[in-house]
Every structure is written in C-alpha cells, then in structure tokens.
C-alpha cells in the first residue's frame, strides 16, 4: 500500500533575476514501512522535495504543478493550520544539520516534549515518560533530557533529532542528510540506529543523501535525482548493481571505496545544469560522455530498463556504457599513463620529531596564583613524520584528533609547544629566523573551505599574484607565473579567469585558485587540510588529480589531511592515522588499508559505507566517544573503548613501533589480526548487552573487560 505518492511535482523558486526550476516533474511513491532513498548531487532538488512534503517550502518557492498524496490526502493545497496537524503527527523530519537544528536555549527534553504536547493532549509527566522512551530507543541516556543541546556532541545531537522524530510514531519520517558532516564511525552508528528503528517501529522513511554508499546500505528503493529530474528509479539493489543511466554510473564511480587503491579518481566533468529555465533536453546531456544530438530533444522519459526505470534515450547501450564508465578516460580525465611504480619518491623534505602542540586550558584564578600546572589539550602529542619529495602522506582521523593543528604547526601558522620540524634538512626555526618570506616560499598550505579561502575583494590575478608580490618579484615575472600557474591548475584559458572575483567562481574553481596561490611560489612542501571535503563528489576528483600530478611532476612533498578515507587511499602513498593527537598507525597506504593493525584504525577503515549494495558490511558500533582531550587516560588513549585492551594497555602507552613490519608501524600492544571477529563482533555484542541501560558517552569499559 502506498503511503506517499508524489506525482509530476514541479517546483520553482522566485528570485530577483530568473526563476529557478528546482524540481521538474518528479514522481515517486513510498510504501508503508519502506525505506526510500533520494540521492543526487548538491542542488539537484532533494531538500526542496522534502520540504514540499512537509509544507516547509521557503516563501519564494512555489509548487507549480503536480501533487503530493499522503494517505490519499492531497498535501499541496493545505492551509498553514491544516499543515500543523499533519506535521510531526503523521510526517516527522530529521534535519540535515543537527548542530544548529536544536533550539539552543531550550533543553532537549523540552523540545521533544513540546512536539508531543502540541499534538497530543497529555500531561507533562506522560510526555516526559515518552521523551525518556525515545531517548532510550536512540541510545541516549534518559537522565540527560534536561541538558541543553550544546552539551551534546554532534552525533548525540543527531540522535536527539531522531528521537524527536520518533516521538509521535509518525507514519513517515523524512531524513534529510542525517549523517552528513559526521565522522564515519559516528555515521555508521547512526545508520545502524536508523535501520534498527525502522525494524522496530512501523514508520516509513524517506532518506535524502548525496552519499551513494549510505543509500546503498540503507534503502529498499531509490530515486537518483539530477537537475530536478529523476534520472533513475527502482530497487536500490538493482540501481546500484546494474545502473542503467550514465549519471548513476558516473555518480557511483565517483564514490571510490576505501580499498580501491591508486585508481584514477573519476569525476563527472562540467558543472551543474542551469536551473533558470525548464530543461529543454536531457538535463545531463552537457556532462554526459555518451550524449548525442538526440539528447537535445527534451528530457527523456523514465522508461523501464531491467528492474528499474531510467531516463535515457539509449537504454539499449547500457552494458557498453557501464563498461566505459569505469574508465576515467571516458570522463575526459587524463590518466597520464603513470602507474604506481613510476612514482619514485625523492629525498626527505619534511621531518618532524616528537612534535607537540598543547593548548593551555584557562584555569581558576586561585589555581593560577597557586602556580598549579594548568590543564592542556594535547592536540598534537609527540608526532614523528617524514615526507619525501614527490610523496603524498595522507593523514586520517576523526574530527578533533588534531589533524588541522598538526598541519598548521608544520606550516608554522601556529607556534609549536615542543619537538622539531625540519624542512629540507633545515630546522624550521632556522628558516624562520633567516626569513619568513623564504620559509613561506618553501612551505605552503591549502585550506578546507574553498568558498572562503579567497578574499572576496580580490580578483583571481591579484590573489594568485599576491605571494609573488610579497616575495618582491617584478611585475613581468609575476604576470608570467600567475598565468602559468592558473593554467596548471586547470583553469583554462587563464584569461577567462584572471579578472574574475571569487563570487563569480564555483567552489571547485575557487579551490583551484587557492591551489594556484599555493603553487605559484613553487614550494617544496604543500600541506592540504581537507581541500576537497566541501566539494561535490564530481568535483572532488579533479582536485585530487591536480594534487597527485603536482606531487609527481614537481616533486613536491604533500601532507594531505582528510577524514575521507576513500580519497586518501586514492591519492596517498603513505597513510597515517591519528587518534587524540597521536599517530597510531602509519605505513604504505595499501598495507594500512588492507591490513590495519591498530584497533582504532581498523574500526575507522571498516566504517566506510560501500556503494555496492550487495556487500553486507558489518557495522562498526564502536562504543563511546573519544575521551575528553583534556584529561587523557593513562596508557593507550584508545584503551577505554578497545575490546582488546588489557591492563597493560591501560597503564603503558605503546610506542609507535610496538608493531612494526617494514614501513608499517602501529602503536598497539595487541595488533589486530581479524577485524570482523576481534572488533566488530565484539562491539555488536557489547552493544546488545548494554543497550537497555547504557547511555551514550559513558565508556563501557567494564563489560569490555569481561569479553
């Protein structure tokens, strides 16, 4: 029986210039107790659809035509008052960013209670009881209902919003990117929770995400959206094992998996379609490697192809396309022909020795006066790294583990607390003493946020020329090198870009300008802090490729920081995994990924979702959150969460080379042999055992010890 039926939905946004056709003729339906997925790149209209179903469309948005039938009731024309009854009782919502979706000045319990009492005439006590109930369902400690949102971590807040969504047993839950922005391990736990809840309660769920892996693992049915159009629709399994639409193929291939080493990353060239007019041809035709003139004739209708529906004029060529789509060449990506052996790494360009960066915590005045030792956040705590010319060192780890701090300390953007850094054999202090300018010409940095990494007031040419001006080059040199570099980072022809201001550039282009800024001085060492994490999948690959090329061609040593393991494995020669300020495992990328030795590294790697829906991955239900960085436990930092931890782990901190196999080192007394049995199964068991009472956050060391 269908619960929700969306038919030929067309939605436009009015803007001061042209109207934006955000959703064009979208239809799909969700059955009872179904998990339905909407997947697609940013801007394809996913959220717009979700908001329309909840009647929360922005004021300038308008449903042009089509219908949304919920339990045979038309939702599109409801008045605000009628909506108030539908909302939450029948359809609830898990917002994208739990970080700012909770009212900061209201306790979480009150927020949930408010939702309950708005719709049900129950006493406060009864409502509180229900709040406690849903808290338990999502695995939060019911005792914490009277805490404020800021007292929870990101993952926990997301669980609060899930609990809220469950509060009234709605028929449909719309989850808009519920895991975006969360660390993989946390994401895995949330997904697990969602699935579990799905099993238990009889709600349907509409899951919206851009992450193919997440849909593949969670949804029964899926619609792939692009430019406000459904490109492919059908059972998840069918769609992702046998995609029949070139866009689905591209999208899927752009999501590499962790163990796909050194494959040239695939990206879909070009940029998103212009939504200011209703599509006249296939919305994907401009970026589609298989497009022909026929594709101009209106958007192709959804037609059955295999088990699913696909909007493509060439259903018969599916197999050849599918074949071709795995080859980067098809997507216009120059593979260069180098393979791994061709990459030889040169001399050591960066060496850190026991590098430390501790942030002093403010302490009480009295303690200050007593001269008591203040507390420190040991953001970077004894890190030894080496990077060679032409080598990319990947640094992975969950949020807050000190990756960025490490990068900034190496680049001397922050002073360090201890240890040594040598660039090209010379101590950083000596270099800086000699001249900051010189140091800057050797070590450069690329930041995470492409949208903000350029001065909005500077034109491209000024931005790229600035480092040269600082170095005091003459005008001519500056001109020449700016042009060259801009072209090197793939902004061709340079003239087209030189005079633009950042506002006129897309995110990918901006990040390339930022890279050009870093490269224009021809540095020897480049530190990249998540340079691609805010870009769409299709753009991400471009950036990775440019960096890889630079490392190879210019012999630059690169430190590449990211929490996205898949992209790291694609680009990095060596991989370092950090946990709470320490590098706990390091080695050749392939070695580390295939054969992780540290339980944390192993869990992290295991938590990445798979885009192939047929693989049945075991979830990583790593208990607890990373401990408070201020009061680190003695011994191994990971011990409190580690199923293998022994008394020794808790008392002595293992050396980095406690495990050592050639280049491969891991700081673990008991290196992992088999991930599934030693870790994942343990996690699951422990979780099952403690579910009923245990709240989040409290490390469950006791039970682990028994096991």
């Amino acid at each position: 029986m269908t619960l929700l039926e969306v038919n030929n939905l067309k939605i436009t946004y009015e803007t001061s210039e042209k109207d934006i056709h955000a959703v064009n003729d979208v239809s799909f339906s969700i059955g009872e107790q179904d998990n339905y997925g909407l997947v697609g790149e940013s801007g394809c209209g996913k959220s717009t659809i979700a908001k329309t179903i909840l009647g929360l469309l922005d004021d300038n948005g308008k449903v042009q035509s089509g219908s949304v039938q919920f339990k045979d009731r038309e939702l599109v024309d409801l008045s605000e008052n009628e909506w108030q009854d539908v909302r939450w009782e029948e359809i609830s919502y898990i917002p994208q960013s739990a970080m700012d979706s909770l009212d900061p000045v209201m306790t979480v319990g009150a927020q949930i209670r408010q939702a309950i009492r708005k719709h049900k005439d129950v006493s406060k006590a009864d409502a509180d009881e229900r709040v406690a109930e849903v808290f338990e369902i999502v695995g939060l400690d019911p005792a914490r209902t009277s805490d404020y949102p800021h007292e929870f971590s990101g993952g926990m807040r997301q669980r609060v919003t899930i609990a809220m969504a469950l509060a009234l047993d709605p028929d449909l839950i719309i989850a808009d990117e519920p895991t975006t922005g969360l660390d993989v391990i946390v994401q895995d736990k949330i997904i697990d929770k969602l699935l579990e809840i799905q099993d238990e309660v009889d709600s349907s769920m509409l899951l919206i995400t851009h992450d193919v892996g997440v849909v593949a693992e969670t949804c029964d049915e899926v619609s792939v959206l692009y430019g406000g159009k459904v490109m492919e629709q059908g059972a998840t399994h069918d769609v992702f094992t046998n995609p029949t639409n070139p866009y689905t193929m591209g999208l899927q291939n752009a999501f590499p998996e962790v163990d796909e080493f050194d494959e040239q990353a695939i990206s879909i060239p070009g940029s998103l379609p212009d939504l200011t007019a209703e599509p006249s041809g296939c919305v994907f035709r401009n970026r589609c490697p298989f497009s022909t003139t026929e594709c101009e004739d209106g958007h192709p209708p959804l037609t059955a192809n295999g088990g699913q529906l696909s909007a493509c004029y060439y259903p018969e060529d599916v197999d050849t396309m599918r074949e071709a789509a795995t080859d980067p060449d098809t997507w216009g990506i120059d593979t260069g022909g180098d393979d791994e052996t061709a990459r030889d790494t040169g001399d050591v360009i960066l060496e850190t020795e026991n590098l430390e960066k501790w942030f002093k915590q403010t302490q009480s005045l009295v303690d200050d006066l007593r001269g008591a030792e203040p507390d420190y956040v040991k953001a970077v705590n004894g890190v030894d790294l080496t990077v060679r010319e032409g080598e990319i060192l990947g640094v992975a780890g969950e949020s807050g583990c000190g990756k960025s701090t490490l990068g900034e300390v190496i680049a001397a953007l922050q002073p360090r607390t201890g240890g040594d850094i040598h660039v090209d054999g010379t101590s950083v202090d000596d270099l800086l003493e000699e001249s900051t300018k010189k140091f800057r010409s050797q070590v450069q940095f690329i930041f995470q946020d492409p949208f903000d990494s350029l001065n909005p007031r500077q034109r491209v040419k000024d931005a790229v020329a600035e480092p040269l001006k600082i170095q005091g080059h003459d005008k001519e040199t500056i001109d020449r090198r700016v042009r060259q570099t801009v072209s090197d980072v793939g902004l061709n022809p340079p003239e087209k870009y030189l005079d633009q201001v950042p506002a006129q550039l897309s995110g990918g282009e901006r990040q390339r300008v930022a890279i050009a800024q870093a490269l224009v001085l021809e540095p020897k060492l480049l530190i990249c802090d998540e340079p691609a994490s805010m870009l769409d999948v299709s753009l991400k690959a471009n950036i990775l490729n440019i960096l890889r090329d630079m490392a190879d061609e210019r012999d630059i040593g690169i430190v590449y920081i990211s929490h996205d393991l898949a992209s790291l494995t694609q680009i990095a020669n060596r991989l370092a995994v950090m946990y709470l300020g320490r590098v706990i495992e390091i080695g050749d990328t392939r070695e580390v990924v295939k054969n992780p030795k540290h339980p944390y590294a192993a869990s992290l790697l295991a938590a990445s979702p798979k885009t192939d829906p047929s693989t049945n991955r075991q979830r990583v239900l790593l208990p607890g959150e990373p401990p408070n960085p201020v009061n680190l436990p003695g011994g191994c930092n990971f011990a409190p969460r580690c199923p293998k931890a022994s008394a020794e782990c808790r008392s002595t901190n293992p050396e980095r080379d406690a495990f050592k196999d050639g280049d491969h080192e891991a700081a673990c007394h008991f290196p992992v042999e088999d991930v599934d049995s030693e870790l994942l199964a343990q996690y699951a068991r422990e979780r099952a055992g403690t579910e009923a009472q245990t709240a989040d956050g409290e490390p469950v060391t006791e039970s682990v010890e028994e096991a």
């Binding site: 929360l56 605000e80 009782e89 919502y93 979706s101 000045v105 708005k118 719709h119 005045l365």
Partner: protein, 327 residues
C-alpha cells in the same frame, strides 16, 4: 568554578576601571580655573586672605596628591564629602536627585524595553510588512532626534498648544506633598510625569525595536525554527521561540542602558526642569562645586561599570551555550 573565576576577574576589572575613571574625573576637575570662592573675592565681598581660609576649610589648600588620596579613601566608604556651595553632605543633594531620576527613567526604560521589544519581534517576524516599515521609521525618528528636541516638540504640542499637561517640574508649584507616597503617587505628579516619561519611552524605543527586530530576523531563517515549524508549532509559538532566542542581546542591552541611564537624559531634565541628577550635575558644574561633580560623575561611572558587570553575568547566566569564561 569557572563562573566564579569569571566573576572575580570581571569584578576586579570593574574595580580597577572605577578607580581609573574616578582618577580621571578628579584630574579633569582640577583643571577648572577656579572654585566657588574665587567668585567671592572677585565680587569684592571677601579679601584674598579670607578666601584662603575658606579654601583651607575645605581642604583645597592641601597638595593635590593628598586631596586625591583623601578623595579615593572617602569613596571607599561612599563618603562624597561636603558640597562647596551647599554646606551639606554631597549625598544629601544627590540622593533625592537620584531618586527623582530613577523614578522617571526606570519605569520608562522598562516600559519601552518590554513594549518595543515585543513590537520589534513582531516586526522582525513580519519582515517587509507595513507594521515593520512604520515601526522602524517612527522609532528611528525618535531615536535619532536629540531627546531635548523631542521634549520641546512634546511641550509645544501638548503643553503649550493643547494645554493638557504642565510644562515643567515634578509637581505644581504650590503642591506640598509630604513623604514618598504622596510625592510620587498623586494625580499632580502623574500630570507632570507623562511628558518626560513619553519622551524617554520614545527615545529608547528605537534601540529595543531594532535590536529585537534584527535578532528575530537573524533567527528567522535558522534551522531550529524550521524544525519548530516542522513540529507543527503555530506562527505565534514559533515567534515566541524566536523571541526567546533573541532575549539575550535584549537583556544585555537593557542592563547596559540602565547603566547609562543617569547620563543619558541630562538635556531632558533641563527641558522639563525635572529635579534629577542630571540637572544637579549641570548646576554643580556651573557652580564649580567639585565634590558634587565628582560624586555625580562617580555615580554615573559606577552605574555603567556595575551594569556592565551585570550584563556580562546575565549573559553568562542566560545563555546556556556560553561558557562563562568565554565572555
């Protein structure tokens, strides 16, 4: 713990600020070329020796730094000394004046804070509406116009023109109320009260309205309000939440405004001949009555500093997300 630390630090800073402020006040006043006694020589009624004796009587002949130390020392005990022109403790001059000012301004401020904030929230919620536009334009007018000009305009219309209200003072010339209740709770007082009260309310309305409106506008697009809406809250309930979230800047601003209360409306007190501290201060300046000026300015500075502190504390206490130490 960290809150206490924060409190101690803030208080210490406030104390030091106060000290510096009073020192500056002291120093500035010593630049005045004369004191009330000089006039007596000048008018020929006293000989210079007699004036010197007088000055000695008030300690004005001592070295500056001794005067300074004594002054600071007295401040600690809230002893403002003796007025040079009135032969009475300064406090007995300023006390009643202060009360009159508070009676006028505090209710006005509270009224405007409540009414204008609510109006501002409503305006922000209905951004672009007729209500918002007129609200902004009228309050901007009253906020921008100097308060004494507003006062004068009110006088011209309601007092001189329509003759509804008296034009000056706190009560009728012959009214002779005894005691606080009779003074402040009579029809006569009310009649005198309305115009200056209105001027004050109008003057401050702009700040609160804009602040509330801007905060609500800021919050309006926020995710959490979207979630409230998705939960099925009605418009008013959503506005209430947006309002609650805007409360912090409003409360902070209210505290700061209260601190600035005494210095804000001197001209208003002059226009309406309101016997408040502002007028007392202007008179004292004209009479070069150092101790009174010092004390009045000190009270004003102290009010600001204390209310600043209060604002900080309110901020730390009201906003659950702010760690006291961050403020």
């Amino acid at each position: 713990m960290s809150f206490r630390r924060f409190l101690i630090k803030r208080t210490a800073i406030a104390a030091i600020l106060t000290l510096v402020a009073v020192s500056i006040i002291f120093a500035t006043l010593r630049f005045l070329p004369s004191d009330p006694f000089s006039g007596l020589v000048a008018s020929g009624s006293l000989t210079p020796e007699q004036v010197a004796e007088l000055r000695a009587m008030y300690g004005l002949d001592e070295p500056i730094w001794i005067q300074y130390l004594k002054y600071i020392q007295n401040l600690f005990t809230f002893q403002f000394g003796l007025s040079l022109t009135e032969q009475r403790p300064v406090w007995s001059i300023l006390g009643p004046a202060l009360r009159n000012t508070l009676v006028l301004l505090l209710p006005a401020l509270v009224t405007t804070a409540v009414v204008s904030s609510l109006a501002g929230m409503y305006a922000g919620w209905n951004r672009g509406s007729w209500f918002e536009q007129t609200g902004i334009i009228t309050t901007t007018f009253f906020r921008a116009t100097p308060i004494f000009v507003t006062g004068i305009l009110l006088l011209i219309i309601f007092s001189y023109g329509l003759g509804w209200f008296p034009a000056f003072g706190m009560r009728s010339p012959v009214a002779n109320p005894q005691g606080v209740t009779e003074t402040y709770l009579s029809m006569d007082f009310l009649k005198h009260y309305i115009l200056p009260f209105t001027a004050t309310v109008l003057f401050y309305s702009g700040d609160f309205l804009m602040l509330a409106r801007n905060s609500v506008v800021e919050r309006k697009g926020s995710e959490f309000l979207k979630l409230h809406r998705a939960k099925g809250l009605s418009e008013m309930e959503q506005l209430a939440r947006a309002g609650r979230n805007s409360l912090l800047p409003l409360v902070t601003y209210f505290a700061l405004r209260t601190g600035m209360l005494f210095q804000g409306v001197i001209t208003l007190e002059v226009v309406f001949a309101w016997p408040g501290i502002g007028r007392a201060l202007v008179d004292a300046i004209l009479n070069q009555d150092y101790p009174t000026v010092q004390a009045a300015v000190f009270i004003m500075a102290l009010a600001v500093i204390v209310m600043n502190l209060a604002a900080d504390i309110a901020y730390a206490k009201l906003d659950p997300t702010v760690e006291a130490g961050d403020v």
